[in-house]
């Protein structure tokens, strides 16, 4: 049966992976989608691998949004858990969409929400640690801050503050 969503999307939606929050996160990314009002929070716990490289030891998410928003949230945590920060920064929205077996065209923007949340969480970690923020990431951060005003407004109305 052809569904608007693929089987993989529906599976992630039904049983989202890494859902919830991390008590004392090393980095948090809080983003809102200005287009449809979805909101995603992403928590990181950072560790080191055998080569001494920083890796994402744990990752969790909370999402207010549609099926695609929840599925892409779940998907991105799968894609980056245990991976290096460098690798995580390289995960594109195309990769998420591919991992889910596709998304309806109008829902593609949801996958951007997921990469944005991840980038914000990494930015937040690097800043807190006083580490160097790659130029590309800094630029992404600026764009998101601008766009997140919308999400912030939503958060207020829902009785929470994003930052």
């Amino acid at each position: 049966m052809t569904h608007i969503y693929t089987k993989k999307v529906l599976a992630h939606f039904k049983h989202p992976h890494n859902m919830g929050r991390i008590a004392k996160p090393d980095g948090v990314g809080r983003v809102g989608n200005p287009k449809c009002g979805d909101v995603m929070w992403l928590y990181l716990k950072i560790g080191k691998n055998k080569q001494g490289k920083e890796i994402i030891k744990d990752v969790k998410f909370e999402t207010f949004g549609c099926v695609a928003a929840i599925a892409t949230s779940s998907m991105i945590t799968d894609l980056v858990k245990g991976k290096t920060i460098e690798y995580a920064l390289g995960v594109t929205k195309e990769k998420i969409v591919k991992g889910l077996g596709g998304l309806p065209p109008i829902k593609i923007h949801c996958s951007l929400l997921a990469t944005d949340a991840l980038h914000e969480a990494i930015y937040n970690y690097l800043k807190k640690q006083g580490l160097r923020v790659p130029a590309q990431l800094a630029k992404t951060h600026e764009r998101i801050v601008k766009e997140t005003k919308v999400a912030e407004r939503i958060g207020e109305h829902l009785g929470e503050h994003l930052h």
Binding site: W41, E62, F64, G65, C66, I106, G155
Partner: protein, 385 residues
């Protein structure tokens, strides 16, 4: 088994309707324009259906034009009237009209028409006095729906109709949701044009009608062989029209009893659902369609709620942005004054004649936990705990 609670979107064809249609596919399959027996039998079936549909709104049969559905009827009413009366270029609608009224008007706007969109109150009611104030010397028509498809609010169309009649302005009503559900009398309500659709009343999809008061001229959308008094050319969908007629006849007989029963079910559903924390009812508490309930749930999103319920075997719908083809949330909910994020978490439960109390109970059993579960995923959950 799956429970269907989305009867405002479409309905199952009543087995009695399907039975009435069956002979018109492969046996009495003639073209109603043909002279021979096959054709004449098809024509007789058409005219019989026309009488049944007319009887449901107290019109004359010859005032019923069969179309392919509610959307076509609305387009024919609005564009057809505009083309036939090009001297008047102002149209009044409400902010909660269906897309099939909104979009034809938007198109006319691009072609030099002035469209007044009247606001509604927080229940979704149009103020007849506002209609009166909006009418101008160049007003061609007023198009206000009889009952809203999302929130079920029933508009005071008899008062609006009376105002239009007094001001000599055409009055069209999109009655797709009310036709066959609550009484309609085109004369008493001063209706000039009325749209209805078969698939909302347990008839087949792909059929509808436009009531056109005698003497009103329209330009057709579909020019051709001159079917349906020249207002809608194209070989008539005989089986579909027969089904529509049968559905209308059944509605006429069973409407009162169904409405009573569904109203009771609906009110029970509303009472129980509102026990869920941070929930509310959209639309008018009483002046609403018997089968319609529309809820808001804070902190969650409608499409996700619909899919979760679907996984529990319950089919419902939402006016959420993310469920539709656009990214905008329901213009109806926004027009009630709901904020973007409040409109996000709407749930429409629409009952039909085949629903029972057991269906409502099944929904009520899973709804609280489903809402709860989605709130678990949401970053906003801490607020309400």
């Amino acid at each position: 088994m799956t429970i269907y609670l989305d009867n405002a979107a479409t309905t199952a064809v009543d087995p009695r309707v399907l039975k009435a249609m069956q002979p018109y596919f492969s046996k009495h399959f003639g073209n109603a324009s043909s002279l021979h027996g096959f054709g004449q039998r098809a024509r007789a079936a058409l005219e019989d259906a026309r009488e049944k549909v007319a009887a449901l709104i107290d019109s004359k049969p010859e005032e019923i034009i069969f179309t392919s559905g509610g959307t076509e009827s609305n387009n024919l009413a609005i564009k057809g009237l505009a083309w036939a009366h090009p001297n008047k270029k102002h149209i009044i609608i409400s902010a909660i009209e269906h897309h099939a009224v909104m979009e034809p008007c938007e198109w006319l706007r691009k072609h030099g028409y002035d469209i007044t969109v009247l606001p509604v109150d927080s229940y979704g009611l149009v103020d007849p006095k506002a209609v009166e104030r909006a009418i101008r010397p160049d007003t061609l028509m007023v198009s206000i729906m009889h009952a809203n498809n999302e929130i079920g609010t029933i508009e005071p169309i008899e008062r609006i109709g009376a105002i239009c009649r007094a001001k000599d302005v055409f009055f069209h009503t999109d009655a797709v949701q009310s036709f066959g559900k609550i009484p309609i009398d085109v004369d008493a309500m001063h209706i000039d044009l009325l749209s209805a659709s078969s698939h909302k009343i347990h008839g087949p999809k792909g059929v509808g009608c436009l009531y056109v008061r005698k003497g009103i001229s329209l330009v057709p959308l579909a020019h051709g062989g001159g079917h349906e008094r020249g207002l809608r050319s194209g070989t008539e969908n005989v089986a579909g029209i027969v089904g529509f007629g049968e559905a209308a006849a059944i509605a006429k007989k069973e409407m009162a009893a169904d409405a009573k029963r569904l109203t009771a079910l609906r009110d029970r559903l509303i009472k129980e659902t509102l026990k869920i924390q941070d929930s509310w009812l959209n639309g008018h508490p009483r002046q609403r369609l018997p089968g319609n309930a529309n809820f808001g749930f804070r902190y969650i999103e409608g499409e996700a709620l619909v899919l979760q319920l679907d996984m529990h075997g319950i089919a419902v719908s939402t006016g959420s942005a993310c469920s539709s083809k656009s990214l905008e949330p329901s213009h109806v909910l926004l027009a009630l004054g709901l904020r973007h994020e409040e409109a996000h978490g709407s749930l429409r439960v629409s009952l039909g004649k085949f629903n029972t109390r057991a269906d409502i109970d099944a929904l009520l059993k899973v709804l609280p936990q489903t809402v709860e579960r989605l709130r678990e995923i949401s970053p906003f959950k801490r607020k309400y705990k």
